[in-house]
Point group: C2
């Protein structure tokens, strides 16, 4: 290679945008080009429910890096431009912007093509290949605007999927005073995020504020003058059917990765159907990197492949891809911790490491402690429940879940513990910060470790 | 030894009380006796300022384990009882309760004798060996009651000492609308708790709400009808004197350990004049343990002796002493992290590891990051500043300080990192929990590590 490095990025979500930013930071001279199908430069997808709820005034506030910013950083940003072909041999990508045809050479190519919301097989949900009016997914600002335009106080909303995003939408539409029904195919809510026993406070408020059907799937919808009227759901066990009057349907049942371009150039896909990357964010094809929701990576604890879907991980992959593509050296950790959090109806939940089912055959015992965020005598304490998972043979901490006061930062402590291979016998003795208005002398996080340690000792007896 | 183990504990503060509790948990048959000079069973000393401020309604709410609790646990609690002699050879202690003389045999003895507030050499501060009316220290519930009875809205309070406890008292008396002056001998506030550059927000609010004299010491006081009227202070550098009209003086300049009983039986004292203990909380004298503010222990990072004065550490020592004295096995970590926190005028501060000066010759570089607790686009974010200290040669994290939103729990993450010997190159890549209403994708805590890592790289170039 002579002259400046030509870096081409496909997709300007958090992954692609961060890659561009760090490529520029690493090599001030590189020629960086970024293609984005949508209308907007890098914005926060995770922020969408909070615009819909009214907490954030406008969708445009979610834009984290403006077109001006990209221009100032000398990054060529093409919006509303779709890359439809990669010529691996000639190191060239081809894109379409309206009728214009764009050709770009690259030395390094980054696939940040993201994912597309999954649509379950629901009869009549689409007309001419599009969701019928009133039926929605939530992935882009445009999706968010469509939902917002359909919201009416007192009208009926049905949410398919009781995962984190589904429940964030429940919370948002509840703030808009809609009458909400939640439909979840699994027996439990938040199945991928929390163990069932840790969902109890969230479940309680959900049951109070919505009509909740677990073990139910949507089978078909009916329309009236081209607009959604009913969602029909079926009990997974009894096959009993129900008809839900619905003005707004939001489908939040996961995503499919966008991997057609990756496949076209022979990038290896992994078990989850996403692009396999190494600890430099490189794909199996030389000079081609991938980041974000189109990728999979190893779980830190189990070392099994997991699909990426958390903004926090995407950003870190973007740093790695950007630095490495621009000639630097950034090594990702040997796996993802899946540290995650959300606030649903005012209750903070957070977790790190696999949920119970995902451990499969790994022998894990749990310690759980329910306490208060403050010493008993201090007014204003809030409940906090911590559950810590410990590998039965090694004593290492392998997971943690928290519900309540400062759940996320408490889980970050466990993220640090897992990341450093810490043993529960040590973490139970961790000297946590204590002051009456802030935390008790023995924080719930060490007390949960105490419980696990006792169980471990009993097991060994 | 035959029959039940006789455990005698001198002092029923957090250290002695916790020792009793864990001795009982470990050996249901042990005969546990605890002697306490004061009127109250185990209560939270750290909670005193919050009763004075009115946040907690009554002093008695600070009592964490009542006399009934001790009775139920079959722990013999003697209040208002002073141990004045230990016969090491005969394994006996002698105590006085009023005119009564009590003799107790022990197999295991625990010294939890605490510390006494230091009184600097201030002329006229005492009369007949007692502080004059209006002059106070804050160590016990009785001290707190005396201060409370002197508080009057609009009257003048002078606080000697701008450490954590001094400033907690400033905050408390400010809530009582007193007119406050703070006098600190050092050039900076919070000298043992935070580096100077991290005190800025606290300093600003202190300057706004009080009159602050750093580099000043109190030299004498004047009285009127036996009651304090003026405090005279002197500039350390210019020797200039000032007279402060004062209704309530609170002296918060540290403590002296109570070690006369320990000395009488030959317990080794360390560099700080406190009782030396090992990782089982044992003193140098066989079968004699010590816990709490009368002890010193190694600093985790520097391995130098430090005096113990944090409730969180005292409780952990109590667990060790209680378990070990009762025949169990509990090993303390190889040093104390000194994880600490407080909330002063609504600003949360926290730190772990030595302050800058305490590192002496250890080569430490710092990374500092000032950000927001939430993503920029999300309303309601609060400032958070993190400073992380890294050993220049090993790259290990050796300290952290935080001011602002959730400072304490963020510092707990660093406590976990230090405790596990984590390297800054790893912690900067820690996957922290992200959700718009809770924390940004890259938390200030990893970004501070990024800054330190960059500095480290530059140094090595």
């Amino acid at each position: 290679m002579t002259g400046e490095t030509k870096i081409v990025i496909i997709g300007c979500g958090a992954g692609g945008g961060t890659t561009a930013q760090f490529a520029r930071k690493t090599d001030r001279k590189a020629i960086v080009t970024i293609f984005e199908r949508g209308k907007y430069p890098q914005y926060s997808k995770c922020g969408l429910p909070y615009v819909i709820s009214g907490k954030i005034p406008e969708f445009k506030e979610l834009i984290e890096f403006s077109e001006d910013w990209f221009e100032k950083e000398r990054i060529d940003l093409f919006l509303e431009t779709t890359v439809d072909e990669i010529n691996k041999k000639n190191h060239t990508v081809f894109a379409k912007k309206g009728n214009e045809r764009i050709k770009k050479e690259f030395d390094k190519l980054i696939l940040a093509t993201g994912a597309t919301p999954s649509i379950p097989p629901i009869k009549n949900i689409k007309k001419n290949g599009e969701l019928i009016k009133g039926a929605h997914v939530l992935r882009t600002i445009d999706d968010g605007k469509l939902i917002s335009s359909d919201i009416k106080k007192g009208k009926k909303a049905t949410i398919l999927g009781a995962g984190l995003i589904g429940l964030e939408m429940v919370d948002a539409l509840s703030k808009k005073e809609m009458d909400i029904t939640v439909v979840e195919a699994l027996p439990e809510i938040l199945g991928n995020a929390l163990d069932n026993d840790m969902c109890e406070p969230t479940l309680r408020v959900l049951q109070e504020k919505t009509t909740l059907y677990t073990n139910h799937v949507a089978t078909k919808v009916s329309e009236e003058h081209g607009t959604l009227r009913h969602v029909f759901i079926k009990d997974n066990k009894t096959n009993e059917e129900k008809e839900l009057e619905t003005d707004v349907l939001v489908i939040a049942v996961g995503t499919k990765p966008n991997v057609s371009l990756a496949k076209s150039i022979g990038c290896k896909l992994g078990e989850t159907g996403r692009i396999t990357i190494n600890e430099k964010s490189e794909t199996s094809v030389k000079n081609v990197y991938a980041v974000g929701d189109c990728t999979e990576y190893k779980d830190f604890v189990t070392q099994k492949a997991v699909g990426i879907g958390l903004g926090s991980i995407v950003v870190r992959q973007g740093i790695a891809a950007g630095v490495n593509a621009a000639g630097g050296n950034y090594i990702l950790p040997k796996g993802v911790l899946l540290t995650r959090t959300s606030e649903i109806f005012g209750v903070e939940v957070a977790a790190v490491g696999p949920v119970k089912n995902a451990f499969e055959k790994m022998p894990v015992i749990y310690g759980k402690f329910k306490g208060s965020s403050l010493p008993e005598y201090f007014p204003g304490g809030n409940p906090i429940t911590i559950k810590v998972g410990v590998h039965e043979e090694t004593g290492r901490i392998v997971s943690a879940q928290a519900v309540g006061s400062n759940a996320a930062q408490r889980v970050n402590v466990f993220a640090c513990a897992i990341f450093n291979g810490a043993n529960v016998e040590d973490v139970k003795k961790l000297e946590t910060a204590y002051a009456p208005p802030i935390a008790p002398p023995l924080d719930a996080l060490t007390l949960a470790c105490d419980v696990a340690s006792l169980k471990l000792a009993r097991k060994k007896d």
